[in-house]
């Protein structure tokens, strides 16, 4: 028996107390939905976890009305420091229930427990802590003195980081004084509903956060609801485009965080062992279900063979299997539909002439699985180098000079993230300066911090989440009030005072 056949080390699900069915979370309570309920399954076993209510137009209307009431009567009148107290409380509860949330996330999403435990859930707590600190300091958020909240925010999140995306959306919205109606993804609603329990535990005033589960129709009802002041969406570029069209001509604000096809550029002087780790982390983290994944490896031609050899050797040590096992590196693909897309695009890659290599790992018979895969001999015109696969599939391309690397990296409709690997600091700065991507990692990849803004260029969306910039999407300057209240003759000082008084009412 081999030492590397580690004995199973599964995280116990005994810590979870799940109900057999979950309603919608509206006005501080779980209520029945009026759409057709659906099941959420574990992608690793295809077993049903729970039945989830679906929100129809009337349910969404109720949720938006609850959010509006909470905004008018409670949340917009509360001081920033009091809002901060609630956010701190939520952050602490997330930490207290961290293990439970991690198990639920891995069960529902299919991601390895080591990621949900060591990355997702700690970041969720960090996000709430970070924005809790901002709640009473909004004067310094960059929107001028005494900025105002927008009102009710409709938020739609994807299935790849269900709880983390929830935190990215809810924490800044609440800190800025907005109330929220959030729709989790259809395949991963579980942790959002556990989060609703945390909100009850934290005694958050009713209606400040409402969670409506459902499919595309629920999301569409939320986007088109006239009572919503702001839409924040993370997901595919296609849906994002639809949302932009739907709200055109309304005064709704919008933040879109969409797809990506990030270049991970490895120069010949890169710290090679760490670059290999970074490439692996860039594309195989969360089974490649990452919008900012480093799915296009641009490697300097002189070290191409060595990098590919080392990469294959490293991929052969990855452990694919039970997401709840603490030694699992690669979990399950989130859904049958996503698996189908990955398979289709990979087959196209092969038929277009690229060379396919997959790590030799045994795929479980139940559930949705795809082995870590590399395509070499990929050209910029191949679809696997253009389309977002959103799976554990890496396309390897080469370049000869920094100028060519930059040109190839930018030659994509997307522009969410990029990576640069080099031992030479001046080259990193020079190349980063010319890359058209919202996030650029140097000698690392897929690192996130609540203080750092995140968002895309071009078809990767607009607006920024995280950091001080993330608050801008949920605030309007006090000046927008002034234009209504101040008389043209009043000088600036007077109008500022008027504005403050108006806002205080």
């Amino acid at each position: 028996m081999s030492f590397l056949d580690y004995a199973p080390a599964p995280e116990s699900t005994a810590i979870l107390t799940l109900r057999s069915d979950y309603g919608l979370f509206i006005d501080g309570e779980f209520v029945d939905g009026h759409g057709t309920p659906f099941s959420t399954i574990s992608p690793a076993t295809e077993k049903t976890i729970a039945t989830i209510a679906s929100a129809n137009d009337e349910d969404v209307d109720r949720a938006v009305a609850a959010a509006r009431r909470a905004y008018d009567k409670t949340w917009s009148r509360m001081s920033g420091s009091d809002r901060g107290k609630y956010l701190f409380r939520i952050a602490r509860l997330v930490q207290e229930r961290a293990r439970e949330l991690a198990v639920a996330e891995s069960l529902d999403n299919g991601k390895p427990i080591k990621e949900s435990r060591d990355v997702d859930v700690p970041l969720v707590a960090a996000w709430f802590f970070y924005y809790a600190g901002w709640a009473d300091k909004l004067d310094y958020a960059g929107a001028g003195a005494n900025p105002a909240a927008l009102g009710v925010a409709g938020q739609i999140i994807p299935w790849n980081f269900p709880l983390l995306m929830l935190a990215w959306k809810i924490a800044p919205a609440l800190a800025a004084g907005n109330t929220v109606v959030l729709k989790p993804a259809e395949t991963t609603p579980l942790t959002a509903l556990l989060f609703a329990e945390i909100l009850q535990q934290a005694d958050l005033p009713a209606g400040v956060v409402n969670i409506v589960t459902g499919a595309g129709a629920t999301g569409s009802a939320l986007v088109n609801h006239p009572g919503v002041d702001k839409i924040a969406f993370t997901g595919s570029t296609n849906v994002g485009r639809g949302i932009a069209k739907a709200i055109a001509g309304t005064d709704k604000r919008v933040t879109l965080e969409l797809g990506g096809k990030a270049a991970n550029i490895v120069f010949d002087d890169a710290p090679i062992d760490q670059a290999i780790e970074g490439i692996v982390n860039g594309i195989f983290f969360n089974q490649g279900h990452v919008c900012c994944a480093g799915s296009r490896l641009l490697v300097q031609e002189s070290i191409h063979d060595e990098v590919v050899d080392r990469l294959k050797e490293r991929l052969s040590t990855l452990r694919l299997g039970d997401p709840l096992d603490k030694n699992t590196d690669i979990g399950a693909v989130n859904s049958a539909a996503q698996l189908e897309r990955i398979k289709t695009l990979s087959d196209i890659g092969e038929s277009e002439g690229a060379d396919r290599w997959s790590a030799d790992c045994v795929l479980p018979s139940e559930g949705f699985w795809f082995p870590p895969t590399i395509f070499t001999n990929v050209s910029t015109s191949h679809r696997i180098a253009r389309d977002e696969v959103f799976g554990p599939v890496l396309s390897v391309l080469t370049f000869r000079t920094p100028a060519e690397a930059i040109a190839k990296a930018n030659n994509t409709p997307y522009g969410l993230s990029a990576g640069i690997w080099s031992d030479k600091g001046s080259r990193i700065l020079a190349v980063a300066d010319k890359l058209r991507a919202g996030v650029i990692w140097a000698n690392t990849f897929n690192r996130f911090d609540p203080a750092s803004p995140f968002g895309g260029y071009k078809e990767s969306g607009y607006g920024r989440e995280g950091g001080r910039h993330g608050l801008a999407g949920y605030l309007k300057p006090a000046g927008s009030l002034r234009s209504v209240t101040a008389s043209p003759a009043a000088d600036a000082t007077d109008s500022a005072i008027t504005t403050t008084k108006e806002a205080a009412k």
């Binding site: 760490q274 970074g278 000698n443 690392t444």
Partner: protein
Amino acid sequence: MTETQKVLVPRPTALEFFDGPVTDASLRRYLEGIPGVDAVGLEQRAAGLGTRSIKTTSKKRALDTIISLIDLTTLEGADTPGKVRSLVAKAITPDASDQSTPRVAAVCVYGDMVPYAVEALGVHHARGTDSGIQVAAVATAFPSGRASLAVKLSDTADAVDAGADEIDMVIDRGAFLSGRYGQVFDEIVAVKEACRRSDGSYAHLKVILETGELNTYDNIRRASWLAIVAGGDFIKTSTGKVAPAATLPVTLLMLEVVRDWHRLTGEKIGVKPAGGIRTSKDAIKYLVTVAETVGEDWLQPDLFRFGASSLLNDVLLQRQKMTTGHYSGADYVTID
């Protein structure tokens, strides 16, 4: 400047990596041309390997493997023949209450204690074979290495003559840090030669880099290459007299060098983290790092060792716990 022109003689397999004869200058070009190490990434990878969860049957096997890889060590000014005999007895019978416990790989002592170790081991002494317990001696003015080459060589030869199977030498960190790579190289080559026994066989040579004094990962990587090219059989992190001693990132880095050397030449070089590894939990992280970096072929005494003294008792306590189902205490294992 004739010194820099001097031709150095590396291990035969290393010759093809040098364009022409090996000199101080070509050695410098070679070592400084090795790709750099990103400290953040290295430490992240080591931390990741440290999260592997080794349970039940895997843990049981890991504990036995750890014992069989230990260089049970006493390196104190106060060492006496009595202390060494006691250490040897512990090496032969690690756990008096469980005869199925494997024996350690070696005992590691100062050179003047070698005769007592050899005598105490008796029939259990390996004597140049793979079976039995090896006697390792620290030499070359351990731990500082601050002595003339002649003294270092006679220190080594004395220990080999007295029956040492393995020599743990220290490199001249002063020479390394001032860029005199050729001098460090020369000393390793000379010490290797001093390891030759009268019958033509060699005592195994472990080269201690004293990573805590080299300070940067780039230095540690260069020193690892240097020690291997010069002919070391093992590269060892530390003397145990300088903090920090062995760490997981440093050991990972050295294992990566060993893996690359194996890829280039097919030769297998050993790695020995020493100092600071006190618990089974830590030691298991090292096993995981070895197996997932160079492969589990390296989990054998010829290719991996722990330089430790207090680690053994923690492993024995864990082993007893796995057998009996309950924790005992410090008084249920012998102090040495």
